[in-house]
Every structure is written in C-alpha cells, then in structure tokens.
C-alpha cells in the first residue's frame, strides 16, 4: 500500500528526529504511568490499612462515649484481681478470697477501660435504620495470664511469666460486615450460626505461628478451653486481634475493666454498612440521634487521619507527582509539535511537488498525520515500558511506608498491645505497609490515548502549514 510504503520510507529517512519525538513522548507518558502506578500502590496501601481497621465494606463505625477511669479503691472486686497484701502479691477472687500469688496463675479478660459499651439491642436498632444495609457488633477484649512460680516473692525466686493476648467477640452468623470480612482463611473454616455458644476460636496466623497453634489445637481463655477451628490472616497493617471467639462467649467470659462487672449483652463497637455511599452522611446523623454521646466515624474521614509516611506518599503522588507529569507531558507535546513543524518546513518542496502532481491537501495532510501517529504509537510503547520499569524500580527500592493508627475512638479500641507480654493492653501501634505500585489496564489505555493525542497534535500543527502551502512558492525553493 502506497501510504504505508511512503510512511515507512519517510520515517526511516527521519529516524533520528522520529526517535527524538518518540522519546520525548515516552518520557512524559512513562512519568504518567509511573506516577499512576505509585498512586495506585499508595491507595492500595491505604485501603489495606483501612480495611484492616474496619473490615472490607464498612462505611461507619460506632463506639460508646468515653467513661472516666475508676478511682483507686472504688472498683468492685468481681473476678480475679491482683492486690498487694502483707505477704506480698495476692490473687483475690471477688474481692474476698485472697491467696498468695506464688504457685498460682492470674487470669483476666476485660473490655476497653475508657469507652462505655453498647447493649447488643443497640446493634439491632442501628440495623433497622432506613439507610442502613447491615450492622454487626464486636466486643473487644484484652486477656492476661500471669503465672507466678512457687518461689515467687522469696530471695532468688523466679519472676512471673506473663502472657497477653487480644480477643474479639464476633457474631457467628454470616454477616456482610465486621472484622472478618477482609480475612483470608489459611486453614479450617469461619464461624457458623451453630457456633454461637460454642467454645471455638479463630486464631490470627501470626499469633498461631508464634504459639505453635493449628486447627484442632486448644487454647485457654480465662481458664476455659477453646478449640481452634481456623487460622486466619488479615490485610497488612490491620493489627488484628490474636483470637476471635463467638460474641456470646466473649460476653460471658469478659469483665468490665471499670468495676469487673459482667459484659453480658454488651458490645464495644458497631460496624455499619450504609445502603449506598451517598447515604453515609445520613446514616452518621441517624446513628448519632439514636445513640447520643457515641462516636460515629466514617471510613472516609478515617482516611484523612492516617498519618506517617503513607500519608506523605499519598500527598506526594497526588500533588507533586500529578503536576510534574502534566508539565513533562506538555513539554513533550510542545517538542513534538515544534519538531514536526520543522520537518514539514524542510519538506515544503516535496509537498509542492505532490501538489503539482495533483495530490489534494488532505491527502498530504493524511500522510503527515500518519507519520505523527506512528511516532506517537512508538512513544506510547516506549512510555508504557518506561512506566513499568519505573514502577518496578519503585517497588524494589521504596522503603516500607509507615503509618500510625488514628487516635479516634475506633483507633483506641483497635489498639493492640505493642508487644506480646506487655502488661498495658491498649498501647498504640505503628504499622508498616509495603508500597506495591501497580500498572492498571486503565493507565495503559490512558497512555496510548495521550501518545496518540500528542502525535495528532504535532501532525495538526504541521498540517496547518501544508494547507497554507502554495505550490509555486514551494517549488521555487528547489530551483
């Protein structure tokens, strides 16, 4: 085909210029692809962090109003408690029966100290709201087990052995909302409705690896033996609890931190899914009216509270990165236009000959546009390759992004022990997430469109010159 033959020969003749224009376009497009990939990676990291905090699909989380910590000496002595007696450390039960701690084990399982729990009936009330698609309650507990050796308290005696762990009591029926929606089951199976009152547990994969647990193993929570029925993993950065048990069992075994009271029919957190994204503000308002004093947090607002280098990376990709890509693209387009116009000027005599032969202006313009588009396509290919390379380099050399869980109420509830063995169960935590840039099909399509647009723009500028060309003047340049 004559058009292709002429195009091919001309590209070969002006190979250096064509390569220059294509490289310029490739640089701009490669930058767009790389920044888009990095931005996608940052968004995914944010999403992983948030979905781990909230679970996939959660729009709103509700926590109770703050409560003052108990004054010393005013706590009701229900369950086990550690006290200092005349003989040293004592384990007291119900505030009356006290024994020396040596040779005994202290077990405690209690809810968050600073937030008032909800009644489970509140969960049902929230679920019945008009714009709410689903709601589920969770009871977050912290467990401690301190084993005092027989010689504890005597000179040369061994120190006590401390074990801390966190427990979430979750609803066992199939719910589209809750802390397990983002979980991946490594082995075993999740809770079913029949497990509502059973002594069965799901164990986080990291905790299971450290404790040597697998499906079928037994764990003791407040002197009650639970059977592990699944090992689960949560998204990176979500700081999950060590163990999940049925909500009813958590309510039965846990005690209120303030007074040691029962947690029966109590939940500490309500997960809510709105009917649609547009309904989230309305749902927040309705829940605030239904549960006065509660803290109602939307997932979208939580995103703005994520701090650390993850947030900085997000701002960098969205602001500086986007503008840098735009500037480089404009520069690449400008260079392509200028070079194409220069090439057309140098070929004025050739186009004059073609006009003398009877070629219509649009036929000549089509030839020039074809050459520009071919250059643009080459630029697109190279640009996409550069983009992939840029994304790979970022993935290889970028440090893990750190983020600190927000200090809102939901964050404080989700705060886990900074290290197992700590006696302070609700220390704050920092999370590291990898930056995994990803090039999507949409970005590739955008890159191709940008390259073609650049080629068309350059060809259009050149074509304008051709349209104004007078054959006699063009041929006079050759004579």
């Amino acid at each position: 085909m004559f058009f292709v033959t002429y195009l091919r020969r001309e590209m070969r003749r002006r190979m250096r210029q064509a390569v220059l224009v294509a490289l310029g376009l490739a640089l701009g497009i490669g930058l767009v692809v790389t920044i888009s990939a990095a931005s996608a990676g940052v968004k995914k990291a944010q999403s992983d962090v948030l979905s781990g905090l909230y679970g996939v699909g959660t729009d709103v989380a509700v926590t109770g109003p703050a409560q003052a910590p108990p004054a010393p000496g005013t706590q009701r002595q229900i369950g086990q408690n550690l006290e200092l007696g005349p003989g040293g450390t004592q384990i007291c039960t119900d505030g009356r029966r006290c024994v020396n701690a040596a040779g005994h084990t202290y077990n405690a399982l209690y809810a968050a100290p600073l937030l008032r729990p909800f009644r489970t009936s509140s969960v049902a009330s929230v679920a019945r709201l008009h714009d709410v698609a689903a709601a589920a309650g969770v009871l977050t507990l912290a467990g401690q087990s301190i084993t005092f050796p027989a010689g504890f308290g005597r000179p040369g005696g061994s120190p006590p052995e401390l074990t801390s762990f966190t427990v979430d009591g979750v609803e066992t029926g199939h719910t589209p909302v809750g802390p397990l929606t983002a979980a991946t089951v490594s082995s075993g199976h999740l809770f079913t409705a029949v497990d509502a009152y059973a002594n069965v547990a799901l164990v986080d994969s990291d905790y299971a690896a450290g404790a040597g647990l697998r499906v079928g193993s037994a764990i003791t929570i407040r002197q009650v033996r639970f059977t592990v029925i699944a090992i689960v993993s949560q998204p990176q950065g979500s700081n999950p609890p060590d163990v999940y048990i049925p909500l009813a069992r958590a309510e039965a075994l846990g005690t209120a931190f303030k007074d040691g009271g029962s947690l029966s029919h109590d939940v500490s957190l309500i997960y809510v899914v709105a009917a649609s994204a547009a309904d989230v503000p309305v749902v927040q308002h309705e829940i605030s009216r239904l549960l006065p004093g509660s803290t109602v947090t939307a997932a979208a607002s939580l995103a703005s509270q994520v701090t650390g280098s993850l947030a900085s990376a997000a701002r960098l990709a969205n602001d500086l990165g986007r503008w840098l890509a735009i500037v480089v693209l404009i520069a690449a387009f400008a260079v392509a236009c200028l070079l194409t116009m220069g090439a057309v000027a140098r070929r004025s005599a050739e186009f004059g000959i073609l006009k003398a032969l009877g070629w219509r202006t649009r036929r000549i313009v089509a030839q020039v546009l074809g050459e520009s588009l071919a250059t643009g396509i080459a630029g697109a290919g190279a640009g996409i390759g550069l983009g992939f390379a840029g994304a790979a380099i970022i993935a290889a050399v970028a440090p893990k992004l750190s983020t600190t869980a927000p200090s809102s109420a939901i964050g404080s509830l989700q705060q886990r022990p900074a290290a197992r063995g700590s006696i302070h169960p609700f220390a704050s935590h920092a999370v590291s997430v990898p930056l995994s840039p990803s090039v999507t099909i949409g970005v590739i399509v955008l890159a191709v469109i940008l390259a073609l647009a650049g080629g068309l723009l350059a060809g259009t500028f050149g074509s304008w010159r051709i349209a104004r060309l007078r054959p006699a003047s063009a041929l006079a340049q050759v004579a």
Binding site: Y6, E350, I353, L354, K355, L357, G358, R360, A479
Partner: protein
C-alpha cells in the same frame, strides 16, 4: 487548447510591486510544441506555473479547453493537474525516499485507480523511457539523465493532455541533454500531447514548432522556424527526430 488573455502576474515585496508577467496574450493549439526562451528572471517559469495552475494570475484569464483556470477553486485546480497536466522540472524533483517506480506511481495516486492498474501503467511508462531495469532504484542511485527520464515517465503515466517542461535539460551534460530532448520530441510526436518547454538553450528551442521569447515579463512570438526573422539564428541544421 490554451487561451491566455491579458494575463498579468505581480509579485509584491514590501511596498514595491514587481511584474513577473505583463499583459500576456497567447494561444496554444492542441498538440503544439511551443518553446519559451528568455534570460533568467524574465518570467518564463512564471508563465509555466500559470499554465499549470501552480500559480494564479493577478489579472487576466487562462482558459484551458474553455475552463478559466484563474477562476477555479483550489480543489478543482488540483484535480485538473492530476488528470490533464504533467510537469517536468529542471531539478527532476523526485521524492528521494521513493523508488523510480514509486515516484511514477505517485502521479497516479490522486486518480484513485487500483493498485494493479497503477503498477501496470507505471511499468509501461518506465518502459517508454527505457528504465524498466531501474524501477526499484532510489533517485540517489540514478544518474541525472535517468532521474529526468523517471520524471518524464511520471509526467506521462497519467496520459496528460499537456506537458509542461521547465528547463528539463538544465542540469544535464550535453549528450544527456540531447537524449532527453530527443525522448521528449518522440513522445510528443507519438502521443499528440501539447508540449510547452521553457529553455534558455536556442539549440533546444529550435526543435519546437513555435518559439516565444520572454523579455521583462512580456512575451513575443517568433514565427515558425521556417520563417525565422532576421537576426534570429538556429545554430546548425534543423534537427528533427523521426
């Protein structure tokens, strides 16, 4: 064929106006060979450009078979050049990236014929100028004379009614010049085309049926060679190729 009436072409440069052609009246018959002589810069090429529709007169009419070229819109003028007018230039003006055959074929692109037809006609045109064995050579691989033959083939391939040649031998040596002129003359005789040839070479002009001279933009028709006015001499015997 051609009827030029009061044709004037003015070039404006800043505030001054330079007349390239002044009040030109000329009639060229079908199948006639007209040579236009004159010194450099006296308007010969301008006349050729006007005849070929490559330029438009400032005043006057240029009728080709009754159609005023000056009044035609650009698209129709382009179509007319594509179908009926062939050009041969002094500097050959071949497309450097296309082979000899492709250069010839380029003249058929505007006619929207099939590729098969184009290639057949291209082969015939190259054969007519004796360059069948150079069909796949690029212009840079051809001698000056061969390049001009390709240009002649490109002009002839569309079977034009008119061929306009602007100093076709200007860049060639003497022997090659004679070969090219002989070829043009042969093709003129065989095909009955109207040939208007611009040259400053009297030897070449003498071979035409009629000779016109451009002086400062004004054209003077010499009578036929057999009735040369006093002072007008053709060097050597008149040579006609049969």
């Amino acid at each position: 064929m051609y009827m030029l009436t009061g044709v004037t072409k003015l070039h404006r440069k800043g505030r001054s106006t330079i007349p390239a052609v002044c009040e030109l009246d000329l009639t060229i018959g079908d199948g006639e060979w007209l040579a236009i002589q004159g010194r450099t810069g006296h308007g010969k090429t301008t006349v050729l450009n006007l005849l070929g529709g490559l330029d438009r007169p400032t005043h006057g009419a240029i009728e080709l078979h009754g159609t005023d070229l000056a009044a035609l819109p650009e698209t129709q003028l382009t179509a007319l050049r594509a179908e009926r007018i062939g050009f041969v230039f002094q500097t050959f003006n071949l497309i450097p990236t296309l082979s000899a055959a492709e250069n010839v074929e380029a003249a058929l692109i505007p006619l929207r014929t099939s590729q098969t037809s184009r290639r057949a006609r291209t082969a015939a045109a190259l054969d007519a100028v004796g360059l069948t064995d150079r069909a796949n050579h690029l212009p840079a691989e051809l001698s000056g004379g061969q390049q001009q033959r390709v240009a002649i083939a490109r002009a002839l391939v569309k079977e034009p009614a008119v061929m306009l040649a602007d100093e076709p031998t200007g860049n060639l040596d003497e022997d090659t010049r004679d070969d090219i002129i002989a070829l043009l003359e042969l093709l003129w005789r065989e095909r009955g085309i109207t040939l208007v040839l611009v040259t400053h070479d009297t030897t070449i002009a003498c071979r035409a049926q009629r000779v016109a001279v451009m002086t400062n933009g004004r054209l003077t028709i010499r009578r036929d060679i057999g009735h040369a006015p006093a002072g007008f001499l053709c060097p050597g015997p008149i040579r006609r190729s049969d």
